[in-house]
Structure formats: structure tokens, C-alpha cells
Symmetry: C2
Subunit: 470 residues, 2 copies
């Protein structure tokens, strides 16, 4: 599908009037922050940014675009890591003015939030009725509900609460022709027809613009305990995950960090502490327990004590207060920031079956060392989901440009290892622009054929995020 | 799409040879049990039943059917409640020979089971590695994995563990043209492309034949406690659900039964006991708690004691052993059997937002009484999901035929009440044949249009379960 290279002035006028005076801009200064990805990996251009304030305005905008074959790129909080949100000449549709919490009902354990709501605002709204929205991730202060749904966001609580897909009860979206898909239900069970919302979740905006969602709330646990463990190997960490889940039934997060990552954080960041530095252990595991039963601290202590006795844990600390819990988390959260002073890096968001984490690390480390000897490998992430953020930082003293030239070979090789272990090349960040060519090359043709059938059925003119995903 | 009325002898021969000697029958005596629904609500006919033993055989069968425009009906354990599994002249494809557990991995918390596996066999296989597959429902001794996926089955553990959709990690299916969709992954996170398996889950066999699935296992809880409560109203039951969830974090099932149901079970079934008969309370609630923390019995007792003090619970019993727990469950499980001696009935599988359960019951009771005065209303089901099995049993002494003549009016009116409260006319049983006309009439045309676009994209000749769902 070829879309026209330019848009007529009369269509531009109609788009502007569809959103009203405060709803559009073509001022380069105002546009600038929306045209650069936060790490400055992508920069884009657009003739016009439209910020509909209502679903009706979004519907009017897309109807005009559909009728006139105008390509659009959609953007939420601009926190995406794969470039999908940065327009390259398309009209930019931002959800930034759709920020209402439309309703919240503690008896239904549901909240209806518009696409532009920031995740932390949804957390705060849930807290006002003593409930919790359990999606938790690093960019939660900027990421929006629409973007989190369109990319099926993950985070640190997936094992217990599921990815975004599992937390969406109902959806409202504007389809590419401007028609509105409206199913803002708070039902827990509804087996009437195909579950159409599932198509929009994780479609990276290629099948429609999510405008609002009914989200699932959960009870606030009465107690939360964070522990930091030192362990000898990733294999032991996997064994430990199962042991702690069985023993406590209370594991909410289980994050792995290798020694290189810990050392880099201590070297480059003044705010990070390592309370287990004396152990010299090759791996750290951060475990968050949550429960509403009494005595969670005792339960965690017993379970970890047994793990030490069994020789699985070298040493461990259990948070005694909120500040200490935050300190433990800080070490994990600063893994990306810790790498920046070291120069260039090649990052991966792979997943493998949990049992294959040790094999992945062993094989990937070997292949990376063979391609760029002396690399600093920072492995960390959601071990409970098999999702490792495997970051390869350039060797000290190497020219960043020389490293960057090797990065594509390196990424391909690491992905090969993940795929050979029945893994994924994108566990939670999505495909966007950056992984598109590789995704299309690796995906079975039968799957691509199905995806194209769906895409062309729902977006026949191919106007929605046309450079993204497929 | 009109399909041919008869199939040529040569095509029949090709279908037979695709599955081999033991894989087909046209013997009326052998076919008989597959052509009648278990409650005898539907009877069907077929020229030929094919029972492929492998995915390759199933693929060959559907490729022939696709090329020759031959309609098929698919059948698992024949436990469906909406008639979708009974052929009306189509070729019948049974998954009964695809019964292998292909693999089970406790470190990945996953099991790969073929479509014809019985649910209880999957439970048993999980137990061999000290894990649990948490889908639990009345027909589990006959229902198959393929059918449970195709109908997105629910059951009593949905609030805690989700419907079947939430328990499928990966899927293998033969698409209508015979091509094989193969994604038997055990990954917890994979954001590469549209999540195509979501379309097949709950599609009632209209988009393909599920042949195997990778299913999610969970830890076995260390303790389980069942309690039977007497409460004054459904409104109090909803309040109690939230209170117990917050207080214990351990509610695994929360089932409601009205007094009419309890009384009917005691009158008609000799194996049922009512340990709370002395309370004369209008409602029973069965609560199952599960936890791996120590002292679950004490926690449940404390929480229920506080609920009694707060005036929410009239009286309650906590199971002291497995036999007592089973007795409590028996009262709930026998709700359908209890109704049979009373004559004709009209059954509903509605859901509403949890907060609307009391309003639904009040309005539905009034409307039912106005249509058929003297009806016996048995309300029971999964209150934690807003899913009420609302069964209207004929008044004593009425002619069953006279009641049956009123049933369509009655069902329509009850569904109107559910829909007016933003509910569903089919929470977990699906649409099949029995709700198809009503579903198409009630569903927004935009949704039907999307469904048709997907159906015709994936099954262009309309050969898969052509009378079902859409």
C-alpha cells in the first residue's frame, strides 16, 4: 500500500478542526520533544501533531485519515524502546489530552482509565479505594495506559499478576476507519464471540488507537518483604525460585543481577549500595514477597534460612523497613544507568523457558566473547519469567564506533542463541522499528500470513503505524 | 458460503485413508454416542467420523475438506452445553485419539498436552511432578483440553487463576486450509507480533482445530481449607468476598447458592447434607482458601470470626478434613442434578459486574415471577466472577410442555436484565448453536463485522463448525 507523500491543505484544515484549537500543533519548538526518543536513538519528523481530547475527536481524525489515505503514528508517553512511537513523516496522534480516570469501582475491582493516563496515576487512583493495579515497571512515571496496552507491557510482577494482557478487562479503541470498538466492560467472564480486544493488545498500534481501558484491580497485600540474596549460579537461582514459590506461595518478584552489573553500578553511581559486597558472589537475586497472611517476615526468613542450609544461598538480607526495601530495588533499577559511562552497548530483551536461563547465559557469554573479546556483559532481569535483559557493554578503551560496527553481528548471534533454546527475541519491548526486519525474517511464514490477513482486514489502507511491526 | 450437500465417494475414500483403518467409522452403532449431547438436548447426524491420531493426520483431513468445500464439526469430550459439538450432517472430527501428554517440565511450570487429553489426566500428570493445573470444573472427568481451549472454559478457580485463556502458554492448531499453526512455547513473555493463539482460544472451533497446547502449571498450595457460610443476602456475600480477599489473600473459590437450591438438593438427593440447616439463612456461600503459609486454618477462622462479629455471617463451618471439604463441595456440585426430578427448567449462564449481582437477582426474580408465577428459582455459581447460573425450574404441578412453551420468553427476559446491568448472556458456556441467533441479534454490528472479517480471512470457504457462533 502506497500512501500519498503529501497532504492537501484542505485535509490538514479538516484534521485541525476535528480536534479544535488546543488540539493540534505544527510549531517545531512544541513538536520537538515528541520527535525524539528519550535515549536519542531515534529522531523523527511530522507535518502535524493531533492531540484529540475525546474518543469522538479521535474517531473523527482517523475517519479523515482513512478516507484520504493519510498515514499516522500513534504516541503515548514516548517511553517505547523499539522506536515505534517516533513518526517519520506521518501525522502524529498523541493521547496526551485523554487523561481522565472515567470511573473506579472497588466492588468490581476495576478502573476505567483513558489512554493518556500515566501508569503511576492509575496506581494512585487505585490506592484511593484501597486497591492496587499490579503492573509495575521502570518507566511507570511516564508510560501511558494506551501505550502499555498496545505493547502488552511486562515488568516485575508478571509471574504473579500477568502481563498487561491479563490485566485488561475491557477496551475502547478507534479502528483505522474511524469506527469505535467499545467494550469497556468490567466482566470477569464473557464468552460471547471472538475476544477481539486481544488483537488490539500488543498490536503496537497497527490495528487501531486504544482510547480507554477497563483494568483489573487486586487487593493490597497486608505485608511486603524484599530480600537480597547472594548465589553461586543462575542454575541455583532457578532452583531457588521454585523452592521459594512452593515454600511461601508469596513470591511477587524474582530478579537476577550478575556480578558485572553490580560492580558497574557501584563504580559509576554514587547512590547505589551493595550490602552483600563481602560475599563476592557471582549473582544477586532480589526477591519480593507479598502476602495478606500474618507473619510474612517470619515465613520469608524461614524459607531463606532453609535455602541457606540447603547450600543454595550464600548469604541474604531481609528488608527491615521501607527504606531498606527501596535500597535493594535501587540496585536492580539502576542497571541501565550504570552502563552509560562505559560507552556503547548492545542490548537484548530475550526470553527463554525458565529452565533454559543457565544454558542461554553460558552460550551467549561464549558467543559474545568470540565476537568482541573483552566485552562487559551485564545480565539482569525477570528470571521468574525467563526474561533476561542481556546487555553487552563495550570493552574498556575500545572506540565506541568500532563497537557499534560489531553490534548488529553481536545482536544477531545472541538472538540465535535465544531462538535455539525456543526463546523469543523480544520478551516485553515489542518489535517496533528496531526489530522489524529481523522479526519478519525469523517468523514462520504461516504466522506472517495470518498477521497480514488480519492487518489488511482491519486496516485495508495500511494507515496505522505503517513502518511498525509488520 | 454454500457447501455441497453430499460428498463424492472418492473424497470419502481419501478422508478415510488420511486417518488409516482405525481412524474412521460410519457404523451407526459406533457413531451413536458421539451424535447425542449428554443431556439429550441435541441429536445429530454425520456421514463419517474421523479420529486423527496425529497433527499430521488432522492436517491432511482438513486440507482435503478445504479443497473440496466439505463442512466439518469438531468434537472433544462432548460435554459442551450449547450444542456446538453435535454435527448436523457435517463430517465429524473427533480428537479422541490425540491423548498424549507430550512433555512436562516442572522447572518451566509447563505441560504439553494433546487436544484429546481429559482434564483430570492433566491434573494427574501435573501431580506427578508436584505441580497443579488449576482449571477445575464439573465436567473435568470427560472434558478435553482441545474443547476447553476452544470454549475458553471457566470453572471455580477463575478469580485466582484465570479462565483457560490465561492458562495457555502456547498452542498448536490445524487451520481450516490444513496448514499447521505451531507455537507450543512455554515462554512466559513473548512480544513478537500479534498474539495469534488468542484468536483460536474461545473461537468454538470456527477458526481451526486445536491439536495440542502448552499449559501453565502452578505450585501446589501447602494447605487448603473449605468453609460453608450462611448469609442473609447476596449483597452481603459480595461484601464478604472483598473482606475475605483483603483479610486473607487466600480466597481460591467463592461460590453462592440460594436457599431454594439447597432445599431442592436435600429433597431430591440422598447423598447431600446441609450442615447449616438450623440457620434457615437465605444464602449459602462456599469459600475455598488455599495458601502455602503456615496456619491457614487459623487465618480462615480469624477472618470468618471477624465477619461473624461484623454481622456479615450468620454461622459458618470450616472443614476439619478432606471428607468434610468434599461434603461442602457436594452441595454446590449437585445443583444441576437436584433440579432434574422437578421437571422442566430454563437455564442461564449470565455474568454481571460483581457489584451488580444483587441488582441482577432482584430484577431477574421479579421478571421471572411475572412471566411464570410460582417458578422455583435456583441461583448459584461463581459469585467472585459475577457469573451466576440462574436456573428457573417449573412450578410444581405445571405441565412441563406448558413451561417449555414459556421458556424462550423467560430466557430473553432474564438476558435483558443481565444486559441492562452491562452483563453477558454467556459467561462461560459459549454461544454454540443454542445462543447463536440471540448473540447475533444483540452483538454490536461493528463487532460482528470484525468477527466476519477474521472468519472469512482464516476460513474463506466456511468449512469449520459452520453452524456455530457466527
Amino acid at each position: 500500500m502506497t500512501l500519498p507523500a503529501s497532504i492537501s491543505a484542505s485535509v490538514i484544515d479538516r484534521l485541525k478542526s476535528a480536534v479544535g484549537a488546543g488540539g493540534w500543533t505544527d510549531d517545531p519548538d512544541l513538536l520537538a520533544p515528541f520527535l525524539v526518543e528519550w535515549r536519542d536513538t531515534w529522531r523523527g519528523t511530522t507535518p502535524l501533531m493531533l492531540s484529540p481530547a475525546t474518543t469522538a475527536e479521535a474517531s473523527a481524525v482517523l475517519a479523515i485519515c482513512h478516507a484520504n489515505r493519510i498515514a499516522v503514528t500513534t504516541q503515548g508517553g514516548n517511553t517505547g524502546l523499539v522506536g515505534g512511537q517516533i513518526p517519520q513523516g506521518e501525522v502524529l496522534i498523541s493521547t496526551r489530552r485523554m487523561k481522565a480516570i472515567r470511573s473506579i469501582d472497588p466492588l468490581d475491582d476495576s478502573i476505567i482509565a483513558e489512554a493518556g493516563c500515566i501508569l503511576t496515576d492509575v496506581h494512585a487512583a487505585a490506592a484511593t479505594v484501597n486497591k492496587r493495579f499490579p503492573l509495575v515497571l521502570a518507566s511507570q512515571g511516564s508510560a501511558t495506559i494506551g501505550g502499555l496496552i498496545s505493547t502488552n507491557a511486562g515488568g516485575v510482577h508478571v509471574r504473579r499478576h500477568g502481563m498487561m494482557r491479563a490485566l485488561v478487562l475491557g477496551l475502547e479503541a478507534v479502528l483505522p476507519d474511524g469506527s469505535v470498538f467499545s467494550e469497556l466492560t468490567s466482566l470477569r467472564k464473557d464468552n460471547t464471540g471472538y475476544d477481539l480486544k486481544q488483537l488490539l493488545i500488543g498490536a503496537e498500534g497497527t490495528l487501531g488507537l486504544v482510547t480507554a481501558a477497563s483494568l483489573k484491580l487486586v487487593p493490597v497485600p497486608r505485608a511486603m518483604v524484599v530480600s537480597m540474596l547472594a548465589v553461586e549460579s543462575a542454575k541455583i537461582a532457578v532452583e531457588l525460585l521454585h523452592r521459594l514459590e512452593e515454600r511461601t506461595g508469596a513470591v511477587a518478584a524474582f530478579e537476577l543481577i550478575n556480578h558485572t552489573g553490580v560492580a558497574m553500578a557501584l563504580k559509576n553511581l554514587s547512590n547505589v549500595k551493595d550490602p552483600l559486597a563481602h560475599t563476592k558472589a557471582p549473582w544477586r537475586v532480589l526477591v519480593e514477597f507479598e502476602s495478606s497472611a500474618d507473619g510474612l517476615g517470619d515465613l520469608a526468613e524461614e524459607a531463606l534460612g532453609e535455602a541457606i542450609e540447603a547450600g543454595l544461598v550464600i548469604d541474604c538480607l531481609i528488608s527491615q523497613n521501607e527504606a531498606q526495601a527501596q535500597d535493594f530495588w535501587l540496585l536492580r533499577e539502576e542497571m541501565s544507568a550504570a552502563q552509560r559511562p562505559e560507552g556503547a552497548s548492545a542490548k537484548h530483551d530475550i526470553s527463554v523457558p525458565v529452565s533454559q536461563i543457565p544454558a542461554f547465559l553460558e552460550r551467549a557469554d561464549a558467543v559474545v566473547e568470540s565476537i568482541v573479546p573483552g566485552c562487559q556483559i551485564v545480565s539482569f532481569g525477570h528470571a521468574s519469567d525467563g526474561n533476561i535483559h542481556y546487555d553487552v557493554v563495550q570493552p574498556p578503551g575500545m572506540e565506541p564506533a568500532a563497537f557499534k560496527a560489531r553490534a548488529p553481528t553481536l545482536i544477531e548471534a545472541v538472538h540465535d542463541v535465544a531462538v535455539s533454546l525456543h526463546g523469543s527475541i523480544s520478551a516485553e519491548h515489542g518489535i517496533g522499528i528496531s526489530r522489524r526486519e529481523e522479526f519478519i525474517r525469523r517468523e514462520p511464514s504461516a504466522h506472517l500470513k495470518l498477521m497480514h490477513a488480519i492487518k489488511s482486514g482491519i486496516d485495508p489502507h495500511g494507515i496505522m503505524n505503517p513502518r511498525v511491526l509488520i
